[in-house]
Point group: C2
């Protein structure tokens, strides 16, 4: 910068003014300096600006683990917004480890992060208090557990998703629909289940407790609970999996038993992660607009950083049904199982 100032025959102040497009510089001088800047391969020193202005140009995204499902969709959305904003995205995985988490938190607090995106489940949101206390702007993604939370959150209409999924299966003619939920201590899991119940009740169908299985959003649960459902005296004709990973488990269990999807069993998932379209057959699922949620969260955060106040603290995006090929009309008669 000094170099440029020297070459232009002005002071660094003037160059700085040009660089930051501030008033107080003559038209000709501005143009001359501008040209000089463009010619040279000068780039502003990040550290110095950061030190002086107090903004690092960095936004942190914290998550438990890079998994390639839920998290990935969000990241894509965040990336998209940040890319254009001039902010850079720092990714940090806590690996569910408290120590690592504390380490990260300490690093954040040195003013090296302009804002934080929290992609953490339930308990961990104690972090939120610290951030709140330190005055670091942040937005939490995923559904708040307690409606009282005092910080901005982004979620999606989970209940409606559960309802829609069930309603869709009903519309295809299914009457016995199994559901493999997530851990029922999570509100989001309960929301899905509540939607399922509501849809059944509206259709005048009694909820059979035997058709409700609890999982913990892992593939293994999908396998295990599907087997349990299949071993029922009167197995369901469709299975609603609480998320797509569990749906993959359902696929595996059915495949082993030589049960065709969707001819003999319909399967519907939840989330619409990247690989659900890759499954065979492509998975019909309830889409959470993950990218959109990421975008939204990033935009909210940016506004927060800019000092604007948010109109609403909690934004809920619409889930939607994505019809692919894993659902069809119910089979007639019993399952023709194990024909190998």
């Amino acid at each position: 910068m000094v170099e440029i100032a020297r070459r232009a025959g002005v002071s660094t102040t003037t160059v700085s003014k040009v660089l930051n497009q501030r008033p107080g510089v003559g038209e000709k001088t501005r143009a001359r300096i501008q040209r000089l800047i463009e010619q040279s391969d000068y780039v502003q020193n990040h550290a110095a600006r950061h030190l002086r202005k107090g903004r690092s140009g960095l936004i942190d995204l914290v998550l438990m683990r890079l998994e390639g499902g839920y998290d990935l969709g969000i990241m894509q959305g965040v990336q998209e917004v940040l890319e254009q904003s001039g902010y850079r995205l720092v990714v940090f995985a806590t690996n569910e480890d408290e120590t690592t988490e504390r380490l990260w938190l300490r690093r954040i607090l040195d003013q090296s992060s302009d804002g934080v995106l929290l992609l953490l489940p339930y308990e961990r949101v104690g972090i939120a208090d610290t951030l709140l206390e330190q005055g670091i702007p942040f937005v939490a993604i995923g559904d708040r557990n307690e409606p009282t939370t005092a910080f901005p959150t982004i979620g999606s209409t989970i209940w409606l998703g559960g309802y829609t999924a069930t309603e869709y299966l009903l519309s295809l003619g299914h009457r016995r629909i199994g559901i493999i939920t997530g851990p029922l201590h999570l509100t989001t899991s309960r929301a899905r289940l509540a939607g399922y119940r509501e849809a059944l009740e509206q259709a005048g169908i009694a909820v059979d407790p035997a058709l409700i299985c609890e999982g913990s959003y892992l593939l293994g649960d999908g396998i295990r609970q599907t087997e349990a459902l299949l071993d029922l005296p009167d197995p369901p004709t469709a299975i609603f999996a609480g998320n797509d990973a569990q749906a993959a488990g359902v696929y595996q269990a059915l495949y082993r038993r030589h049960i065709r999807i969707p001819e003999e069993m319909s399967v519907i998932g939840f989330d619409d992660v990247t690989y659900s379209a890759h499954m065979a057959p492509p998975l019909t699922t309830i889409r959470q607009p993950l990218e959109e949620m990421g975008r939204m969260a990033a935009e909210m955060l940016l506004r927060l950083i800019a000092g604007q106040t948010l109109e609403t603290h909690h934004v809920e995006l619409a889930t939607s049904l994505v019809v692919r090929e894993s659902c069809g009309p119910p089979r007639q008669g019993p399952l023709g199982r194990g024909n190998s």
Copy 2:
């Protein structure tokens, strides 16, 4: 820091010495200051250190697109190493857009990145020249196209992987093995094919050109080329997909035609991305040690940043066969296709 110095009755210099564990401070004083630091909730200012020391504590990972396959595994490995090193990971996706790429490059050059991890294919590596020129340490991940590259690269034994996959299928008794390669202008795609050829030749089996299909590593290619293979007068009994995404395509095509895996068709993939274990049936594949590659790359970069010279410029990690459930002995007789 001033505050701490005041409380300890010393100068900031001394505090700084304690903070950085440098000599020139008495034992008692050091202990006293140390205690004071721990008590207070002081955190060093990142910007100031950065400015003074010239190190930002940031490492950039550039990739084309967050996809959840290859990239994700690498990221996980990188994350793991960086987490412990005190560096933070900045993720940037170029979206294959030159402008975006240039934008990023400019931002990197302001000394705000201590090092770069390049996860870009072939052509784009022109970036490498700029980095080289600017003296920014970096490591490229994925296989170098030209063996002459003057910068550090990390790859894996692709050729061997192709060989192993084919050999495995042969050992199961397959004699007609289809292969869906990646774009053949990429060395890595050709390496797989070369391994395939070698294995066949060693087994004394003539290579049938009709069994070799070119794809571009996308799911759709898997579908299309599988159909082509199935429509052959004498279709293969096994398919070797160039990557796992294509293997997913193979699954879909086979599913549509009601062809069972592995009973009627064996399928083997390449990469071992996160979702390959999720497929139904779980995919047997050639594992590229993605996490390990990420770790390795990060470690090399760290060493480079520390000013050490690397023993070797190019590191190649071993691929390995991961046997799951998608391969079996060849079917006897023709395909019993379309029984629905």
